[in-house]
């Protein structure tokens, strides 16, 4: 008997110490260095709702990446056809993502067939129609290739966003894909939510386009946009009123140079006005292109377009060699910094939408922690008092079990790096109420057995034995519910399910196993005649 008690007590002790071992780093941060060396470094991980931070679900509009690719192929094809002097008419991309064109005679048809085979293997012919010797063709990117483009777009977006977040300086961000086209971004402790969102969600497609100076903007605004031109807007600040005004520009559609040619982007402060601007450095090819573009277009205006918005459209004064350029504009320092970050990290291959955002400020998180701890203590105190009054000494035994229960649950959370959320704290409070249930079941059973006139020892044996199946059955059902909750939930709710599940399992251990040791010990040692229950 004694041996069995000792063994079981040892086991319980080991489990408790293990719980404490993992829990201590979370309780206090000023431990002696000697302790720190042996104790685990990890504290209990707090969910974003407790430590403050931002949770974003982004949707990558991967179909847009296919559109851009189709557009690029159409433009490329137009130039190739012109280079090779193959006759064609009206090549364009339709809204249904098809490239349509007309080939006027059989010579051009043969030449085009060869070109298609050699240069554009990723295209499929959707339909071709010959009327009066003229062929109308529509082409499309192969389905498999389109799927690849979409997949790549999501992967690249993830990479780019990770780069941006890293440069923004957030510790321990979590950026993962979810499903086919979603990206989850978790930024603990982020302070300026709007700024972070802007940084992550910006496509940051930088383009250099010439301003169309042969045609008037006003004419285009009235609806007559010339071929190969487009309208884009920028903002300027009115001198007199200081208001921001939208200014329309008529630009040539062709992109001369894009953000992909950049090597670096940095914030600098201008000498004259002390205003921040973004200094661009092109890579070798980009520098060569920029040199050629500026040489060919001296005295013309070159627009710097970011995500379709004209930032500035300075006049090219002279040929610029060396690959340096700058984006000026009325930036706030932070804006300029963020712009430099997104330009360095590169453009997103497709625009992203924010589907879901949950941000908790640090002060609210701390309040939640305080309130959570207060309710855990208060709930615990109420239940402990009640058990003591209702079951006297046996109630105390149950209370010891439930204090151990709390320690082991928290230790387990720390050991498994599970996340504690606000609903998780609620689960902890709930567990306090439910953990004593096992003891209530046992004690009620023991009381019944005592009433039947059994000895304390026999009553305890019978009470534990009979209550055990009931406790197992009832707790397993709660566990099943918790599992469904885990499968369904997002962030905080998952935390609730995890804490509840861990709590149920551990409370069974402490409420049945640990209390039994104490009872057995007293019965063995004292040979007691009655139980305080």
């Amino acid at each position: 008997m004694l041996k069995s008690i000792k063994l079981r007590a040892l086991l319980a002790l080991i489990v408790c110490l293990a719980g404490l071992f993992f829990l201590i780093p979370s309780l206090t941060s000023d431990l002696p260095d000697v302790w720190k060396k042996y104790l685990p470094a990890d504290k209990i991980r707090l969910g974003l709702d407790l430590q403050g931070g931002m949770h974003l679900v982004l949707e990558v509009r991967a179909d847009k990446a296919v559109e851009t690719t189709t557009e690029r192929i159409a433009n490329d094809m137009r130039e190739t056809l012109m280079d090779k002097k193959i006759r064609f008419r009206n090549i364009e991309r339709t809204t249904a993502n098809l490239i349509v064109l007309e080939l006027p005679d059989s010579a051009s048809r043969t030449a085009f067939e060869k070109l298609l085979k050699d240069n554009y293997p990723e295209l499929d012919i959707v339909s071709s129609q010959i009327t009066e010797g003229r062929e109308s063709l529509s082409l499309k990117i192969k389905d498999k290739r389109a799927a690849d483009i979409k997949k790549m777009a999501v992967e690249q977006s993830l990479e780019t966003i990770r780069n941006r977040v890293d440069q923004f300086g957030i510790t321990e961000p979590e950026i993962i894909t979810q499903g086919d086209d979603r990206i989850i971004v978790q930024l603990p402790g982020v302070k300026d939510a709007a700024r972070a969102k802007n940084l992550i969600g910006k496509t940051a497609l930088l383009e250099f386009k010439l301003v169309d100076e042969e045609n008037s903007v006003d004419g285009a605004l009235r609806g007559i946009v010339p071929d190969g031109a487009m309208i884009a807007y920028g903002t300027t600040i009115e001198r007199d009123t200081g208001r921001r005004v939208r200014v329309p520009y008529l630009l040539k559609s062709k992109t001369l140079l894009a953000g992909g040619s950049l090597e670096n982007a940095q914030v600098k402060i201008s000498d004259r006005f002390g205003e921040p601007y973004v200094a661009l450095k092109f890579n070798a090819q980009g520098a060569k292109d920029f040199d050629r573009i500026t040489a060919e277009n001296v005295k013309k205006r070159l627009a710097i377009v970011l995500d379709g918005v004209v930032h500035s459209a300075p006049v090219i004064q002279e040929r610029i060699s060396g690959g340096d350029a700058q984006i000026t504009g009325s930036f706030a320092m932070e804006e300029a910094k963020d712009l430099a970050i997104v330009l360095r990290a590169g453009a997103l291959p497709a625009p992203v939408n924010i589907l879901e955002e949950r941000t908790v400020g640090p002060s609210l998180g701390q309040d939640s922690i305080d309130q959570g701890i207060r309710s855990v203590f208060l709930g615990g105190l109420l239940v402990a008092l009640f058990m003591m009054i209702y079951y006297k000494l046996s109630g105390m035994v149950a209370n010891i079990a439930f204090i151990l229960n709390l320690i082991i649950i928290l230790g387990t959370l720390a050991a498994f790096k599970a996340t504690l959320t606000l609903p998780g704290i609620a689960a902890l409070v709930l567990i306090i109420g439910m953990a004593v249930d096992a003891n209530v079941l046992i004690y009620e059973r023991v009381r019944e057995e005592l009433r039947l006139g059994k000895t304390p020892r026999a009553a305890i044996d019978a009470g534990y034995a009979k209550a055990f199946v009931t406790i197992l059955d009832s707790n397993l059902t709660t566990l099943i519910a918790a599992l469904f909750l885990f499968g369904f939930g997002t962030g905080p709710i998952k935390g609730f399910a995890v804490t509840l599940s861990i709590g149920i399992i551990i409370s069974m251990f402490t409420a049945i196993f640990v209390t039994r040791i104490i009872f057995d010990f007293f019965i063995w040692k004292r040979k007691i005649q009655s139980i305080s229950i």
Partner: protein, 303 residues
């Protein structure tokens, strides 16, 4: 100390008809309330939209806040007081003119009141697509958890017990939802979590009674089922009440001290615990009896 005297023998099974009447009435009222309110009062988790919780340095009237939003043309905002100098701003949209609402709210307040005058404590934005996903997942989670319980009880006990257990669960879920609807409380993700917890809790309570029925039925094979059920409910009554009492105690602590964020969550759990306890005593086990009677009369009919 004892709340329930050991020899108690209340005729629960005899009050079955009255209990069913009360339960059915409560369920009808619940469903009627949901219909009368034109469906559940979905929070932004399910309906989609934006919620911004703001804390001001000094008392700021909703009128002042509303005025701050005027320049950005936010019309249909709901501004609710939320504790000391705190408000929650809700709106059904997530973005306007390519800009997300929460940033617009932040910027307009900054312009009207100055940057230091307030603090953004919480932002929740759920797009319509995600809202739809979540609604579907929530429904599935509840229904599947019912089915999960059905299978578990049918496996551990017998099918007739499973029927009683599940009907009791449906009963608890409907009435808790009804209580939320009657008080026009918001129905969001945490409420679904509360419902699932109630499902787990209520079945836990029910199983303790079932367990006793099983045990007693084995002991006295000749006793009529009605008698066995009534005895079992009486024998476990003390535990049922105690368990509900302790859980109720901790939930009260959570309700009053857990903070506004989980206020409704604790409220739903409080309702659920009361209803769940009632259903374990008055609904689940009596249904086992009714099912048994129906089945035996049917099999007699066949002969």
């Amino acid at each position: 100390m004892e709340f329930i005297k050991p020899g108690i023998n209340f005729d629960f099974v005899g009050k079955m008809k009255l209990a069913f009447g009360i339960s059915i009435a409560a369920m009808v009222i619940s469903i009627a309330s949901v219909i009368w309110h034109g469906g559940l009062n979905y929070g932004i988790d399910f309906a989609g939209g934006t919620l911004v919780q703001l804390k001001f340095q000094k008392a700021t009237s909703t009128e002042q806040i509303r005025n701050a939003f005027k320049p950005i043309g936010l019309q249909s905002v709901v501004i609710q007081p939320y504790g000391d100098n705190e408000v929650v701003v809700r709106i059904g949209d997530v973005a306007a003119g390519g800009k997300d609402i929460s940033s617009m709210i932040d910027e307009s307040l900054k312009a009207a009141l100055g940057a230091g005058a307030y603090e953004v404590r919480r932002v929740e934005m759920v797009g319509p697509k995600v809202g739809k996903d979540l609604t579907q997942k929530a429904m599935l989670a509840i229904v599947f958890s019912w089915i999960g319980m059905l299978i578990y009880i049918a496996w551990r006990f017998e099918f007739r017990y499973a029927v009683g257990g599940i009907l009791a669960l449906v009963h608890d879920t409907v009435i808790t939802i009804g209580a939320m609807s009657l008080l026009n409380k918001e129905f969001d993700l945490t409420i679904v979590a509360a419902l699932l917890t109630i499902i787990g809790y209520s079945i836990n309570d029910t199983i303790v009674v079932f367990d006793r029925i099983r045990e007693n039925a084995r002991k006295n094979i000749k006793q009529p089922l009605g008698q066995v059920i009534n005895d079992s409910i009486n024998q476990t009554l003390s535990r049922t009440i105690l368990m509900s009492f302790t859980v109720f105690l901790v939930l009260l602590a959570l309700f009053f001290f857990g903070g506004a964020v989980i206020h409704d969550f604790s409220f739903a759990l409080l309702v659920g615990v009361v209803v769940g306890t009632y259903s374990s005593i008055f609904v689940a086990s009596p249904i086992v009896l009714v099912w048994e009677k129906l089945r035996s009369s049917k099999s007699k009919g066949k002969k």
